[in-house]
């Protein structure tokens, strides 16, 4: 393999992995607080469609990103309300969010275009690659890592920041603790339920951002099924990443890399059909989960928060 090919695959892997990284870290934060939100796919696709629609009508990418994040967090708020306040099953509520989000995304995709028309096929503003002077001329990796768009660069900054927050701050310590033993954290006088609301919404905002990166940069524009299960891959990556931000990045790059290889193969006119090639990320998700699980089938060794998915009600300690 020559250097150009490696650089090209790495470049696409980073580009393709960005939406996954944001969504995975978002879900990891939510799960750290003890809430399982399986609505990532729904929040991502809603982020994608609303982000594109907002950017299209306003002409501003910033507004597109902000709207996508706001919509993601509002959907997450619904999940928080249904599971925390109304104490419904977290798994079913998350599935409901994905089902409703997918339906709503196709609905508004037909209505939010000009004159209540469809958004499909429209061209709107999109993120362009910005080469960072100096860094982008580093051999091999320079072009791949430092000739990307602003959302990718934000990811480079975001990962160390979020790691610092989770592992080095008091709030981060409380976040980790409330996913393990909410009653203990509550006993310290920290309002667990309020924080769970907040972290669920943070997760939603990041899923929305990931979705917006798809519709505003990766595959600019809106089409139905744009996310293609990336939200679900993100949920799987959280387990692969043991709920850690840096590992989430590596997992996302791995999947981005599979996408990149798919592209290269298709571009090179392979005889393998597109349908079979497109199976790769899904098969790989299963394989990765099996490997991670067989390395240790103990939840604690994997790093899953002990109270993940278990409803916590102040007055009903068990």
């Amino acid at each position: 393999m020559n250097a150009d090919l490696i650089a090209s695959i790495l470049g696409i892997a980073v580009f393709a992995g960005t939406s996954l990284t944001y969504a995975t870290i978002g879900e990891a934060i939510t799960e750290r607080s003890g809430i399982l939100n399986l609505g990532v796919e729904g929040m991502m696709i809603m982020g994608a469609v609303t982000g594109f629609a907002a950017a299209f009508h306003s002409g501003s990418l910033t507004i597109g990103i902000l709207v996508a994040m706001a919509i993601g967090s509002l959907m997450a708020l619904l999940h928080a309300f249904v599971t925390i306040t109304l104490r419904a099953d977290q798994i079913v509520s998350g599935l409901a969010l994905t089902l409703a989000g997918t339906g709503l995304a196709s609905f508004i995709g037909e209505r939010l275009g000009p004159n209540n028309g469809p958004l499909v096929g429209l061209q709107g503003p999109r993120f362009r690659d910005v080469a960072i002077p100096g860094l982008s001329s580093i051999p091999v990796v320079g072009e791949a890592l430092f000739n990307q768009d602003l959302v990718v660069y934000s990811m480079y900054l975001f990962i160390p920041l979020v790691s610092f927050y989770i592992y080095r701050t008091t709030l981060g310590q409380q976040l980790r603790a409330m996913g393990e033993s909410p009653a203990t954290v509550e006993a310290m006088g920290i309002p667990v339920l309020r924080y769970r609301y907040i972290y669920t919404m943070v997760g939603g905002a990041l899923a929305g951002l990931g979705g917006a990166h798809l519709s505003l940069a990766y595959t600019p524009g809106w089409s139905e099924n744009l996310t293609g299960g990336r939200g679900w891959i993100a949920v799987a990556l959280v387990i692969f990443a043991s709920w850690r931000p840096t590992r989430a990045l590596f997992g996302a790059l791995l999947f981005g890399g599979v996408n990149a290889i798919q592209f290269r193969l298709q571009a090179s006119g392979t005889t393998i059909s597109a349908n079979l090639l497109n199976m790769a990320p899904y098969i790989m998700t299963i394989v990765v989960l099996v490997l991670v699980s067989s390395a240790s089938s103990l939840r604690s060794r994997l790093g899953a928060p002990a109270a993940l998915g278990i409803p916590y009600a102040r007055e009903e300690r068990t």
Partner: protein, 370 residues
């Protein structure tokens, strides 16, 4: 200060189990109406048009619309039951879509290739119906066995595995009807050759309603008996409600995961057979119509009760058929149907608190000790 306090109902009264979901569904329709209003559609006109599309002039003796609703309900009944069996034990089978597709592929394979490969087999509906049904059950069950084994042996999350297997099954089926199983005499259109006529499930009264709906009703009886009348059903319910107690009682999680997923996958596979043998008579685009996902809504809104699943399937099918209608007559996207169904699921899910808890208004002057 006035606060709301939740008290767990130790013995919820029986009427709540249907009053709460019914009220939730009605409120969901009101909320969906508000959403329609926000998008500039008149909700009353929209609902009227949906009703017209789904039931037509049923009281005036016009049955075509309602027959289409029943056609749409058929795969939902089977997949809804499939999902409910697994959910009863809190095994989250999100893979009914893929299991349905695998069933459809298997049934199509039998209809397309067996007559030539084994001409000795009597070519009639009874024999071929049984063979295709058997193949579909087997294919769906085997596809569901993958997540079951991975969960039982390695504790791999069944949610992710069943979901990923959906994508894989759908891609494989697209591959089949666009390449190797494509009809050479099909003028290049994607889709397999038409099945021999004796494999078609009989239809009734000049509509598309066919034998598959009775397979669905039989399946409802089967699931009801399995869950409420057998030892296996008791174990499944116990594992779902109280896994700790089940473990102490010596109930095998392992064996029941396998059993539940074989049944669940088999039922979903049968839904796929109903679609190809009853409706399309070939393998083509449209077999995967989100039935496996809608099944989750069906099962949950029906509180996992087999009889309620039949009714809720018809309700959600009516929403789908009504959605197609408003697309044609009002120019609203048919995905309104999915939105309404999603909102329904949320309301039923959230409303459940009223059957599990008693809500008390308490006046507090001092902070009560926790």
């Amino acid at each position: 200060m006035i606060r709301l306090r939740l008290e767990r109902r130790l013995d919820p009264p029986g009427y709540l189990s249907w009053v709460v979901p019914v009220v939730s569904v009605v409120l969901a329709l009101v909320a969906s109406g508000l959403l329609l209003l926000a998008f500039g559609a008149n909700p009353i006109e929209t609902y009227a048009a949906m009703w017209d599309g789904a039931f037509g002039d049923i009281f005036g003796g016009e049955f075509y619309s309602v027959s289409e609703t029943l056609v749409r309900a058929t795969p939902l009944i089977l997949t809804g039951l499939a999902v409910a069996v697994a959910f009863k034990m809190k095994f989250w089978n999100i893979g009914a879509e893929g299991q349905l597709v695998m069933g459809g592929i298997a049934a199509s394979g039998v209809a397309l290739f067996l007559p030539e490969a084994a001409p000795g087999i009597p070519q009639n509906l009874v024999v071929y119906g049984l063979l295709m049904g058997g193949a579909a059950i087997l294919a769906g069950a085997l596809w569901a066995l993958i997540p079951a084994l991975l969960k039982a042996y390695l504790n791999v999350s069944e949610i992710i595995v069943t979901l990923m297997l959906n994508y894989i099954a759908i891609l494989w089926y697209s591959q089949l009807f666009t390449t190797s199983w494509k009809d050479p005499a099909g003028f290049g259109f994607p889709g397999s050759a038409l099945f021999p006529e004796y494999t078609w499930l009989p239809r009734f009264f000049n509509t598309r309603v066919n034998l598959a709906i009775f397979i669905g009703l039989l399946a409802a009886v089967f699931v009801w008996v399995l869950l409420s009348k057998t030892r296996a059903g008791y174990e499944i319910r116990l594992l779902g409600d109280n896994p700790e107690a089940a473990r102490f009682a010596g109930v095998s999680m392992f064996r029941n995961i396998i059993l539940v997923m074989l049944v669940s996958g088999g039922l979903a596979g049968l839904a796929g057979m109903g679609e190809v043998a009853g409706i399309s008579h070939k393998l083509q685009q449209g077999l995967s119509a989100n039935n496996g996902f809608t099944a989750i809504i069906v099962a949950w809104v029906a509180k996992l009760q087999p009889w309620a699943i039949v009714l809720v399937s018809i309700l959600l099918a009516a929403v789908f058929v009504g959605g197609d209608q408003i697309q044609m007559t009002m120019g609203l996207p048919a995905s309104v149907a999915q939105v309404v169904q999603g909102i329904m699921l949320f309301f039923v899910l959230g409303g459940d608190i009223f059957s599990r808890y008693r809500i008390r208004v308490v006046r507090q002057h001092v902070e009560a000790p926790a």
